[in-house]
Amino acid sequence: MIKVENLTKTFGPKVAVNDVSFTVARGEVLGFLGPNGAGKSTTMRMVTGFLPPTAGRVTIGTHDMLEDPVPAKRLIGYLPESAPCYSDMTVHGFLSFAAEIRGLRGDAIKTAVHRAVEMCFLENVLHQSVDTLSKGYRHRTCFAQSIIHDPEILVMDEPTDGLDPNQKHEIRQLIKRMGEKKAIIFSTHILEEVEAVCSRAIIIDRGTVVANGTPQELKRKAPNAGAILIRVNGVAAEAVTGKLRAVDGAERVQLVKDENGTVTARVFPKSSSNGEFGKAVGAAAQGWRVEELHIEEGKLDEYFRSITASDTAKK
C-alpha cells in the first residue's frame, strides 16, 4: 500500500532524511523509531504529501504522491505530530468538516462522525469548543479526524504522546485492531509500544534507516541477547567469573553485581555456539547455590541505544 523509494529531504545544507526506502503492506503496522530530530516527522510529512521530497518517490496504493496527489491523499488518514485542530470549532463541527472535505455527503457524514466519536470516546465533549479541551481530548479529536473516512492507510506521528496510561492503552488497542485491515505507520519513542502493537519496526537515525525488522528480530540483535544471566549466592566473585570463563563456547564474562555475597554475572556465547551452551553453563554452576539462571531475550531499548547516536551521550 505504501511504497517509499530513496526518499531524501534537505533543508538548505542540512540533510534531514537521507535515502530512506521501505514498504508497508495491508495488515502491517510499521513502528517508526528514532531519537528526536532523526527525521521521523519529516519522512511522515513526505509520505502524506505535506512536504515535497528533494529526491525519491512515494507511492500510495497505485498513485504517485507528487504526480497524482489528490487520489493518493484520499487513501490516507493523517495525525500530525502536534495534533492540530481548528480551535474555533466544536468537536462535532470539526469532525463534520473533516468528513465533508474527505468527500462524504449527507447521512454519510453523520454516520462517519458517529463512528469516529464512538471509537475515540468523544461523546462527552462532542459539542464543546476545541480550544476548551484538555490535551488528551484534543489529541483524540485529531485522531478521530484521521480515521473519519475509514482510510486504508493511516499515518500517525506519535499518536500516544501526551495521553494518560489508560488512554495510551486504548489507543494502542485501537491501532492494533485497525492494523489487521489497514496499512499503518506510526512513530513513537516509547519502545514498549512497538512490541505491543507493531508487526515491524524501522529505526531511523540522522536521516537514515539503521534497522528494519520485526520487534523480535530487533530484540535478538541487542548486545545482551542470547547471553546467560546467572545469580549465585555464597561463592566469591572471582571463582564464579573464573569458572564461567572456562565454559566451552563462552566468549567473555561480565560481572554485573557483587553484593552481600550474591554474585550476578553474564556469560556471552561465541557467535558459533549452539543450544549446548546453556547446558554447559548449567554444568559449570553445579554445586553453587543458584538463585537465577536464564537466557536473556534482549531488550529493544538496549538495541536502540546501541545503534542510535544520542546527542546527550558523551564520547
Binding site: 510529512r45 496527489p69 489528490v70 490516507i76 500530525p80 481548528y86 470549532m89 472535505i101 474527505r102
Partner: protein, 249 residues
C-alpha cells in the same frame, strides 16, 4: 469540476463559520457601520452637500478598508500556520488552489455582507431625494472589488508570516501605496518633480486603486477598471499559492 466547487465551498463554509464563532465578526461589522456612518454624515458633509448621491459615502471606502480589510484577512493563512492546521489542510484530498479560493471567497463574502448592511444609507438618500440608483449600484460594485483587491493582498502577506500583526502591518503598507500612487496630492508632487515625464506619473497612478475606483463612484462600470481589480486579485492569489508552496519545501 463539480468536485472542485464542492471542496471550495466546504473550505469557505468552515472559514465563514470561524468568523461568526468568535466575536470578531460582530465587532467588525459594528465598527464598519459606525465608521461609514460617521464619515458619511459628519466628516463627508452628506447633508451640507444637498445632493441626492452617495459621493460622501463611497469617498471614504479606500481609507476605511485600508485598516479594516487587513484586520479581516490577516488571520487567513497565518493562523493556519500558527496552529499547525495547515498540515491537516494540505494533506486533505484537495488542491492548494481550492483551499486558497475557498478561504478568499469566504472572507470576501463576509466583507460583502458588511457592505450590504450599509443599506440604510441608500434608504436615507432615497427618502430624501431622487438618486440615480445605477450610480449607487456602480459605487457598490466598485467598493466590493476594492475590498476584494485589498483582501487578496492581505491573503498574500498572511501566507508569508505566521504572525498576524506582521501580516496586518505589511498589508496596510502595500494597500496604502496603492491608494497614494493615484491620490491627487501625491500625483501633483510627482508631476512637479518630473514635469517632462508625464508617462511615469501616469504609469504610477495607473497602479492606484483610486484612479480605478473613481469611475465606479460615477456609476461607470468600465471593463478596464474591472480588469484592474480582478488582475490584482488574481495576481495576489497566485503569489499566495507560490508562497505556500515555497513554505513547504
Amino acid at each position: 469540476m463539480n468536485n472542485s466547487l464542492g471542496n471550495i465551498s466546504t473550505i469557505a463554509k468552515r472559514e465563514l463559520s470561524a468568523y461568526f464563532a468568535s466575536p470578531v465578526a460582530y465587532v467588525f461589522i459594528v465598527i464598519f457601520l459606525l465608521l461609514t456612518g460617521f464619515f458619511t454624515f459628519m466628516v463627508g458633509g452628506f447633508f451640507e452637500r444637498n445632493e441626492a448621491n452617495l459621493v460622501s459615502f463611497f469617498l471614504w471606502h479606500p481609507w476605511l478598508y485600508l485598516f479594516l480589510v487587513p484586520a479581516v484577512g490577516m488571520r487567513v493563512w497565518s493562523e493556519e500556520r500558527r496552529q499547525g492546521t495547515i498540515e491537516l489542510l494540505m494533506t486533505m484530498p484537495i488542491t492548494p488552489w481550492q483551499a486558497i479560493m475557498g478561504k478568499f471567497l469566504a472572507s470576501w463574502a463576509f466583507l460583502a455582507l458588511a457592505l450590504l448592511l450599509t443599506f440604510p444609507v441608500v434608504v436615507t438618500v432615497k427618502y430624501l431625494g431622487n438618486p440615480d440608483l445605477g450610480v449607487v449600484a456602480g459605487g457598490y460594485i466598485g467598493s466590493f472589488l476594492l475590498a476584494g483587491a485589498y483582501l487578496a493582498i492581505t491573503c498574500l502577506t498572511s501566507a508569508l508570516t505566521r504572525n498576524q500583526v506582521i501580516a496586518f502591518i505589511i498589508s496596510v503598507v502595500v494597500c496604502l501605496f496603492l491608494i497614494l500612487a493615484g491620490w491627487p496630492p501625491v500625483t501633483n508632487i510627482l508631476t512637479k518633480v518630473l514635469p517632462d515625464n508625464r508617462w511615469i506619473v501616469e504609469l504610477v497612478s495607473a497602479f492606484s486603486v483610486m484612479t480605478h475606483f473613481e469611475d465606479f463612484q460615477r456609476g461607470v462600470v468600465d471593463s478596464r477598471h474591472l480588469l484592474f481589480f480582478l488582475s490584482v486579485i488574481g495576481f495576489s492569489l497566485f503569489s499566495t499559492s507560490v508562497a505556500l508552496r515555497s513554505l513547504r519545501s
